[in-house]
């Protein structure tokens, strides 16, 4: 009963991955139907020395880290808040988690046009109200803008998971600490935070999986630009393959992305594993 699922997943992973590997060592241009000669590591050399590569690696890292820092920090704050007694908590919760269900193309276009547009956007209007210069968000600070857009979409996820973990915290322990005269900060640092550690690592692990292949938000807002200022690894591979039709070097890029993700995955799985044992 297990085998169909395993076989399907194995095929889904192994066949395309093997093909990516094969292409990455061959000369394969979609628009030039000549023979696919063996190139050795030439595609890799081409991809890795592409001036956009190092930047895209840095951008990938910056986007993942930026979104993680914002969502985990703000998520802890929001989760702590939502755990308090308040009127209409259910509605507050529903409002806060809503952005998670908005498809990336919608959220990116709404932010791009209605908020970050330098002329008609709400941010530009706010800037004028406060008497400062309106900035062209996606042109002047593309990476920061993308980080904000993506963080908005993932904040609900972090909040919801941290809140769920928080609610499983034994309240007696907190009360006992309070009786013993532990301050709010001490209680948070010594009781709540360790309790949340596992949920935090899970949030980091899962968000990293999705953030590494961030694509749609870049696709509909900056197209990786200006220049390659907001190109991440996923977008660079896409542009090699489907904009420049260079299958060989795109595949080399794909392999690089897989290796990069695996290194990160091993590191993250260790982190989570450690927390599971604790």
């Amino acid at each position: 009963m297990l085998s169909p699922a395993v076989l399907l997943l194995l095929a889904w992973m192994a066949i395309p991955l093997a093909m990516t590997l094969w292409y990455s060592f061959h000369d394969y241009q979609l628009l030039m139907p000549r023979g696919h000669g063996f190139l050795g590591f030439e595609n890799y050399a081409y991809f890795l020395t592409d001036p956009g590569f190092l930047q895209s690696l840095g951008n990938t890292f910056a986007l993942v880290m930026g979104v993680l820092v914002i969502t985990v920090a703000a998520g802890i704050g929001l989760a702590l808040l939502l755990d308090q007694p308040m009127y209409g908590r259910g509605i507050v919760r529903v409002l806060i988690i809503s952005p998670f269900f908005v498809m990336p193309t919608v959220s990116a276009l709404v932010w791009k046009n209605m908020f970050m547009n330098p002329v008609n956007g709400l941010f530009a209007w706010l800037a004028r109200v406060f008497g400062t210069e309106a900035i062209d968000w996606l042109a002047q600070v593309p990476l920061l803008s993308l980080t904000l857009i993506v963080a908005w979409g993932w904040l609900p996820f972090a909040t919801l998971i941290l809140l769920t973990a928080l609610q499983s915290l034994d309240s007696e322990q907190k009360e006992a600490a309070e009786m013993d005269g532990a301050g709010a900060f001490a209680r948070f640092y010594h009781i709540t935070l360790p309790h949340l550690a596992r949920a935090i690592t899970v949030v980091i692990l899962i968000q990293t999986i999705f953030l590494l292949s961030l694509f749609a938000e870049i696709f509909v807002t900056t197209n990786g630009g200006p220049g390659t200022q907001s190109t991440n690894l996923a977008y660079l591979v896409y542009s090699q393959a489907l904009l420049r039709f260079d299958v060989g070097s795109a595949s080399a890029g794909g392999v690089v992305a897989v290796v990069f993700a695996n290194i990160l995955a091993i590191f993250l799985m260790r982190l989570v594993g450690k927390n599971l044992e604790a």
């Binding site: 009963m1 297990l2 169909p4 699922a5 395993v6 399907l8 997943l9 066949i15 395309p16 991955l17 093909m19 292409y23 929001l78 808040l81 308090q84 007694p85 308040m86 209409g88 507050v92 529903v94 409002l95 806060i96 988690i97 809503s98 952005p99 998670f100 269900f101 498809m103 990336p104 193309t105 919608v106 276009l109 709404v110 209605m114 008609n120 209007w125 004028r128 996820f157 919801l160 998971i161 769920t164 499983s168 899970v202 899962i206 999986i209 292949s213 694509f215 749609a216 509909v220 807002t221 591979v237 393959a241 489907l242 299958v247 795109a250 595949s251 794909g254 392999v255 897989v258 993700a261």
Partner: protein, 276 residues
């Protein structure tokens, strides 16, 4: 004394909570409001919050001038199709692992999780070429296959965590009482397994509805789901805020509402059962 303090604290938390919630929700609210404005009012400075001539013309326009309905149907077919087919594969697998675990079960599960770590760009080129070769590009069938496969690990994991909670003693008790296997399945297991299966289906429909890597890369105009349809508004000539807002509202409304209903299952499904 303490009660008065508690009351005041509760008011303060309520105030902070509502302000933050409305701030976070504001982009969605603003999109919905803008969808009822004329194009002129949509870019008015200072912005008009509620005092504008409410109109439905954007919805009429999106409905009549674009293929909204076709894209909506594509989204529905692709997300439901991939989730239902996925269930057919995932239920037996999760069932087997939950009820007759072997010493490999744990590693099979971890391996499935690890396939989610494979970045989609790593297989973009071959999938694209295979799709081209087998004429699956720009077809719903192709997207159903790809989305089903990419969500399969999540489905198996999620179902596994639900099935594991079904007490096995009940089965044995039923067998002692002389229940036939068919009776066992229909009257004892199904009622206990269905909630988990339903939650898994719900979460996967949401994930597939919003999936925007494969849907953008493997479709052109015709069979694209709503993600691709909305992306077509990114062209500069498509810069009409009110119409973009109306199309966006129509695209996200069903899934945002579905999402509200599935908050609890969401946590469990997306954390591979690690946080419940």
């Amino acid at each position: 004394m303490a009660r008065a303090l508690d009351g005041r604290q509760k008011l303060a938390f309520t105030l902070i909570g509502w302000v933050l919630a409305l701030l976070i929700f504001f982009p969605i609210l603003w999109t919905v409001l803008t969808s009822f404005k004329t194009e002129g009012e949509a870019i008015a400075i200072p912005p008009k919050f509620l005092a504008f001539d409410w109109t439905l013309e954007n919805y009429v326009e999106v409905w009549e001038r674009t293929d909204y309905l076709r894209h909506f149907r594509n989204s529905a077919i692709i997300s439901l199709g991939s989730s239902l087919i996925g269930l057919c594969v995932a239920v037996p697998a999760a069932w087997a692992m939950a009820f007759s675990p072997t010493r490999h079960t744990r590693s099979v599960l971890m391996w499935m999780l690890s396939t989610k770590m494979l970045p989609a760009v790593g297989v973009l080129v071959p999938i694209y070429l295979l799709f081209k070769r087998f004429e699956l590009l720009d077809t719903r069938t192709g997207l159903i296959i790809v989305l089903m496969l990419s969500n399969l690990p999540i489905m198996v994991w999620m179902l596994f965590t639900y099935f594991k909670e079904i007490p096995r003693d009940i089965l044995e008790a039923a067998r002692m009482d002389g229940a036939s296997p068919a009776h066992e399945l229909l009257h004892i297991l199904a009622p206990m397994a269905l909630p988990g299966i339903a939650s898994t289906l719900l979460l996967n429909v949401i994930l597939a509805w919003n999936e925007s890597f494969w849907t953008l890369n493997l479709t052109a105009a015709g069979t694209g789901p709503l993600t691709a349809f909305i992306a077509s508004f990114s062209a500069p000539e498509g810069l009409f805020y009110a119409k973009l807002s109306a199309a966006s509202t129509l695209a996200i409304a069903p899934i945002v509402i579905l999402g509200w209903l599935s908050q609890k299952q969401l946590v469990r499904g997306l954390t591979f059962g690690a946080v419940k």
